[in-house]
């Protein structure tokens, strides 16, 4: 863990060398999702609501997912850019060091410019929490925190899976974007608006449903039955990371250097 923070400190210093570029990028990172959110606002302005969900409720969903995504992108960027490490043969160096591969890959990149996106999602989340008609109490607040944490775990897991594929394909795969960017775009609306096959896939295979739907029902006071179950649903999302870790280990064992 100490090693990881040391990596972060180094990367932070190096990125701060290009200060204007850093702020411009952070600014841009703020605006891209901002326009998506504006689009969403205009749609709600025209249509009122979406299958019984009001704008503030969907904004809550949006805020949670975007926050989880930007945190995961900050932290796990090393996995996202992993194909360059494999294609260049630099992964060999990671292997010979006497530390775990995961810490080193995580520490190989860290995009501080993502603070722009993070800030945007914090604003949206804050606005949604203030405007949604919910009696907030400690249990609900904790559930929202769980949702964010679980989202971070899921996105990190997907980044890891995509990185593991690189062991076999050498190249990065664009298909993985379906589950990262696509998953993000999809999960910013409550899962109920989608067709059954999408719902099933994103609940049982990649458990976004445990992040943005089941606990949300509880927070909004729509859940029936045991509240604890709904509160704990995000944990199931976090469990998604375990098989990902296992697959990563298998991948590392299969690794053959490109030898350049």
């Amino acid at each position: 863990m100490r090693l990881y923070f040391k990596y972060l400190a180094i990367l932070f210093k190096s990125q701060m060398q290009y200060r204007t570029s850093f702020w411009l990028l952070a600014f841009g990172q703020f605006f891209i999702p901002f326009f998506v959110f504006a689009g969403m606002y205009f749609l709600f302005q025209r249509f009122g609501q979406i299958q019984g969900w009001s704008f503030a409720e969907v904004a809550l969903c949006y805020g949670v997912i975007h926050m989880a995504f930007s945190l995961a992108e900050c932290l796990a960027r090393g996995f996202d850019a992993f194909s360059t490490l494999v294609a260049g043969g630099d992964f060999d160096r990671v292997l010979v060091r006497p530390r775990g591969t995961i810490v080193q890959v995580l520490g190989s990149r860290f995009e501080f410019t993502r603070v722009g996106r993070l800030l945007q999602s914090v604003l949206v989340l804050g606005w949604a929490i203030a405007n949604v008609s919910v009696e907030w109490d400690a249990a609900k607040a904790v559930t929202v925190l769980f949702m964010i944490a679980s989202g971070v775990f899921i996105f990190t897991g997907i980044f890891m899976l995509a990185a593991t594929l690189c062991f076999w394909t050498i190249q990065g795969l664009e298909v993985a974007n379906i589950f990262t960017d696509g998953g993000r775009e999809m999960a910013q609306y409550p899962l109920t608006i989608y067709e059954k096959w999408v719902r099933v896939f994103f609940t049982f295979v990649i458990p976004f449903g445990c992040v943005n739907y089941l606990p949300l029902m509880y927070v909004l006071g729509r859940a029936e039955g045991s509240a604890v179950l709904y509160m704990l649903a995000p944990l199931a999302g976090a469990a998604f990371l375990l098989p990902c870790l296992w697959i990563w280990r298998t991948g590392v064992r299969h690794y053959r250097s490109t030898g350049s």
Binding site: S21, L24, L25, G28, F35, A38, Q51, E174, E195
Partner: protein, 270 residues
């Protein structure tokens, strides 16, 4: 002219090589298409939408989304040629200036060709499947033969306009020296105003007026609505003239700008 055509041809053939990337892109675009359509179907099933149907009907919207996915390479501004950025920031622009041909025309031809190659690989598979999907995802055929012809013309003109717009992104790098920050904003605003995030007819009225005044919507929103007949034929043929006018204005402005940029160009060494 022949030099530009052959430069473009090279880039085009080069672009056709990335077939597995295109296959991956097709899968991604199908996913996006489905997700967007599901979201809009959910919105359109609202009682407010049934009482006051939006000017863009659902089948027209579905065609709009599939065309958008199929011709993504014709309409997005984030589709960029790193090579040109590298030329400017790396100093190899000096070689480019020695060539016996105009730099604007050369880059224009290259950018046009790489977009064409990418779209050709992707549009046919996407469209051919989209026509046979079950409802509500099925894409309707064009409203009439005339609207199909106008669609093809407006899509081609739209592509030319888009490349002219994207030239400004490259030219701006002469001043900023960094392809990311400032160009990001042109890209994001342009794509929003072109109707890539939400279709222009679904925007509030005040925003529609802004979108109609800018060149961006002529690259995507206009051809896609001509296809479904949502823009009637007469208005569509008038629109072609406006596209042409924008094209001339943008190219002249771009050429003037690049001339000024080249007069004060600093060749980056190294």
């Amino acid at each position: 002219m022949r030099a530009y055509v052959s430069a473009g041809k090279l880039k085009f053939l080069n672009g056709l090589q990335y077939r597995s990337a295109a296959a991956a892109g097709i899968a991604t675009q199908f996913f996006w298409g489905f997700i967007y359509i599901m979201i809009f179907v959910a919105f359109y099933s609202q009682p407010t939408a049934i009482q006051h149907p939006p000017s863009l009907s659902l089948p027209d919207l579905v065609a709009y989304i599939w065309l958008q996915q199929a011709f993504l390479a014709f309409i997005v501004l984030w589709f960029r040629d790193q090579e040109i950025f590298g030329l400017i920031t790396g100093g190899n622009i000096a070689y480019e200036l020695c060539r016996p041909c105009g730099i604007y025309e050369l880059w224009y031809a290259k950018l046009l060709a790489s977009r064409l190659a990418s779209a050709i690989l992707r549009c046919l598979p996407i469209l051919s499947i989209a026509f046979f999907l079950p409802e509500p995802y099925r894409m309707n055929p064009p409203a009439s033969a005339a609207s199909l012809a106008l669609f093809a013309a407006s899509l081609a003109l739209g592509l030319l306009v888009l490349v002219a717009v994207s030239m400004f992104i490259y030219i701006s790098v002469f001043w900023t020296m960094s392809p990311v920050g400032s160009t990001l904003l042109i890209g994001v605003v342009g794509e929003f105003m072109a109707g890539l995030i939400i279709p222009v007819p679904l925007m509030p009225d005040w925003l529609q007026r802004i979108a109609y005044a800018l060149p961006f919507r002529w690259t995507a929103d206009f051809p896609f609505r001509v296809y479904s007949g949502q823009i009637p034929l007469q208005e569509a043929s008038f629109g072609l003239a406006i596209q042409l006018a924008w094209l001339v204005v943008l190219i002249i402005a771009g050429k003037l700008l690049i001339k000024r940029a080249l007069r004060q160009v600093v060749v980056q060494g190294g």
